[in-house]
């Protein structure tokens, strides 16, 4: 349903004040994903170990997916002055396609190495991360599950505000199985003395992870919202299209409100990071707590609006529901992010 997708792009454009370069970049990514990453292709990856095709990832990197948060001096480079504003466009497109690939962990780690790494650390890891030859993962705190943990060549480890870079060979990795068909997680154990120290304290890392994840979830919600609206117009019940029933129209209106609000706070989060705003932590946590909780509810309501077909394996809805559910549960839950906000209002717990 082209008009709706156009509307989405137009809105995003307004909100993010896209430059021509950015619009082209988003469009290139969209075309690439449409060609390489059909839902059929995504489904076929369910049984793969990595959950993504290495060649696909390298070609995504050629489009610039991993260079936006790396400085030009380090071989990266962004379109605008603020790479995060470029990169959320990729994340949103990947959400719309439920695309595979370790965008969040690689972005977080590459950004940290570029910002804080020693020349040797940069030489060792950045070229491979930029080209897609190497994969990185972020181990945040003790015992947390690690996205792409079993695929990573290198780990950024953050414990109590101290960060280290650790080669995968120095870690004990236990792969997990999970809800998303193509997103892989692992438990990663790393001894306290492994690897080398690097700067940063994990705050910026969390901001980036949540901003990308929020944009991705928005892309997924938008796609499902559009598909559902189209379905309701085409589907007749009791001689009338589903879209003519007021009780359903009002729910769709509420969903539209939540969808726009989600886009709005996702954009605000990316901007706050770009501008290094004093309340960036708070805005990012607002994005996570709002979008995390609303996305699963919105997609579940779209399942309901689809009827029985919505709970079949054959229909693509569940791929989006799985993605949104996993995104909600990782990089801090809505509850944990609300707790962070509470700390700024009424003090630490």
């Amino acid at each position: 349903m082209t008009p709706l997708l156009d509307d989405r792009v137009a809105c995003a454009a307004v909100e993010l004040d896209l430059t021509e370069d950015q619009a082209f970049f988003a469009q290139t990514t969209r075309k690439f994903l449409a060609a390489e990453c059909s839902i059929t292709a995504v489904r076929a990856l369910e049984s793969s170990d990595d959950g993504f095709d290495r060649d696909y990832w390298r070609r995504g990197c050629e489009l610039g997916w991993t260079s936006m948060l790396v400085s030009e001096a380090d071989g990266g480079g962004s379109l605008s002055d603020h790479g995060i504003l470029d990169l959320v466009l990729v994340a949103e497109e990947m959400g719309a396609a439920v695309a595979p690939g370790p965008l969040v962990p690689v972005s977080v780690v590459a950004s940290t190495i570029s910002a804080h790494g020693s020349p040797a650390q940069k030489r060792t890891w950045l070229p491979g991360l930029l080209s897609g030859e190497l994969i990185a993962a972020w181990v945040s705190g003790d015992g947390a599950i690690v996205e792409a943990g079993a695929q990573a060549d290198v780990f950024l480890v953050t414990v109590d505000g101290e960060q280290r870079i650790v080669a995968a060979a120095d870690a004990t990795i236990s792969p997990l199985v999970g809800l998303d068909l193509v997103r892989r997680f692992a438990r990663v154990e790393i001894s306290a003395d492994a690897g080398e120290p690097i700067g940063g304290d994990g705050e910026r890392e969390l901001q980036i992870a949540v901003a990308l994840q929020s944009a991705e979830t928005c892309g997924a919600m938008q796609r499902i919202f559009d598909v559902t609206l189209e379905y309701m117009a085409d589907r007749y019940s009791f001689g009338r299209p589903l879209s003519s029933y007021q009780a359903l129209k009002h729910r769709v209106a509420d969903n539209k409100m939540h969808l726009e609000a989600s886009h709005a706070i996702a954009t605000a989060a990316a901007r706050a990071i770009a501008e290094d705003a004093p309340d960036a932590n708070e805005v990012v946590s607002a994005a996570k707590s709002y979008i995390g909780a609303i996305a699963t509810e919105l997609i579940q309501d779209c399942v309901q609006l689809h009827g029985g077909i919505g709970v079949t394996w054959e229909h693509d809805l569940h791929l989006y529901l799985r993605r949104a559910t996993v995104n909600r549960a990782t990089y801090g839950t809505p509850t944990e992010h609300r707790e962070r906000i509470a700390a700024t209002i009424v003090g630490a717990a």
Binding site: L176, Y236, T296, G307, L321, T325, A329
Partner: protein
């Protein structure tokens, strides 16, 4: 005079103890293969023990006792593995409808066979084009002398591949408004012309099926109720369904599981709180308590509405209240479970299947199932507002015109 109820209880307790296996988690794994064969055997044991069909008429193999006897037997059966699958839909929906509308011959042929565990039944109502609009049926049954010939397709029939008979709604007259040209047939599932395909659900289960009918021959003697008056039968069938799913059918035998999966959810939620060490977290405590309150209210509501219907003080359509409460309760409890689970809902160890996180997470995928099956929440809200409260009926574009002229999906 019936046996005194406490005597009956003692006899049931002793018999269950000697004859039925203890309850195990396998009993409610929706994905387990071969479960139906086990249950056929369990039901046969109940029959042989003289406890089958407690509220079914004695004339057709039941015991003809009051619902209190069923309640007592169900109470006593709580520790045992029971033929839960027979409860829904066979006993509580299809056999119940057969009791109401079947001919003497139909009841004689099928009710004892059902109670012996020989026949599992399903309903063939929904169609791929239809959604909630069951009367918008396109499957056709054309009369040819003493038989009807069926063509078309049905969907969302639960467990059809492993069942024996269906009640099937088909259109027998296209020249009258939609509700007036329908007929209900008893249909043998495994016969020439019937193809059954299993549908994989989001959680990997294969419970639902789609059926395709290609010139299936059904004798006129297998019509339930009157020809062209199938909507009357279907309406009763749906009322039985709401009662059964809502939790207050007298034909259901055995406690809780099989019609109330929510007890398991609650256990899962409490387990998550313990596993994650959240016992002292006031937020998690609120959520656990909220889930528990919903269960307590649910039980009280089933009691109130069942007795209201039985006493004639509440409309039979009030079963819709129970179904809606159950379905919205599952939505909320699943949300609570995900909130508490946090990241263990995203991924889990390869070697340890069925962690509480995984159970909660996969349940959430399937969450809307109960809000869709057995009449969607939207249909229940229509019923409550229109039939229970008497608010004006929704405008329907297909009322009072010949069904062949009605606008349909894709048309």
């Amino acid at each position: 005079m019936s046996e005194p109820i406490e005597e009956f209880r003692g006899r049931a307790r002793a018999w269950l103890n000697q004859n039925m296996p203890p309850l195990s988690p396998a009993a409610w794994d929706r994905r387990a293969e071969g479960r139906r064969a086990v249950e056929r055997d369990l039901q046969r044991r109940v029959w042989d023990g003289g406890f089958a069909g407690i509220c079914f008429p004695a004339e057709y193999g039941g015991l003809g006792l009051a619902p209190e006897y069923q309640d007592v037997f169900s109470d006593e059966s709580a520790p045992y593995d029971m033929p839960f699958t027979f409860n829904l839909p066979t006993f509580s929906i299809l056999a119940a409808t057969l009791v109401d509308f079947g001919t003497h011959e139909q009841k004689l042929r099928h009710l004892p066979a059902i109670l012996k565990g020989d026949e599992l039944w399903v309903q063939f109502l929904s169609e791929p084009s239809g959604g909630s609009d069951l009367a918008g049926c396109l499957t056709r049954a054309d009369r040819d002398g003493d038989v009807f010939v069926l063509n078309g397709s049905k969907i969302w029939s639960s467990g059809a591949a492993e069942s024996d008979y269906a009640m099937c709604l088909a259109r027998t007259n296209w020249d009258v408004p939609k509700h007036r040209g329908l007929t209900i047939f008893i249909l043998k599932i495994h016969q020439p012309g019937v193809k059954v395909e299993q549908i994989r659900q989001v959680d990997g289960s294969m419970e639902f099926c789609q059926e395709f009918f290609d010139d299936v021959v059904v004798p006129v003697t297998d019509v339930v109720g009157e020809i062209d008056d199938g909507w009357t039968v279907a309406t009763r069938l749906l009322t039985h369904e709401r009662s059964a799913v809502g939790g207050h059918s007298k034909y259901i035998s055995g406690r809780s599981i099989g019609h109330d999966p929510s007890n398991d959810d609650d256990n899962t939620i409490v387990q998550l709180v313990r596993d994650l060490g959240l016992e002292q977290d006031r937020h998690a405590r609120q959520l656990v308590a909220e889930a528990q309150v919903r269960q307590m209210v649910s039980r009280a509501l089933i009691d109130r509405v069942s007795r209201g219907i039985a006493a004639g003080a509440a409309s039979p359509a009030s079963g819709a209240i129970l179904k809606l409460f159950l379905a919205t309760g599952v939505m909320r409890r699943t949300e609570i479970g995900l909130d508490i689970a946090g990241e263990v809902a995203a991924a889990w160890p390869v070697q340890e299947p069925h962690t509480p996180g995984q159970i909660m997470s996969e349940m959430s995928l399937w969450r809307q199932g109960i809000s869709l099956g057995g009449g969607s929440n939207e249909i229940q809200r229509n019923i409550i507002s229109e039939r229970v409260l008497g608010m004006p009926r929704e405008y329907a574009a297909d009322r009072e015109i010949p069904y062949r002229d009605v606008k349909r999906t894709g048309g």
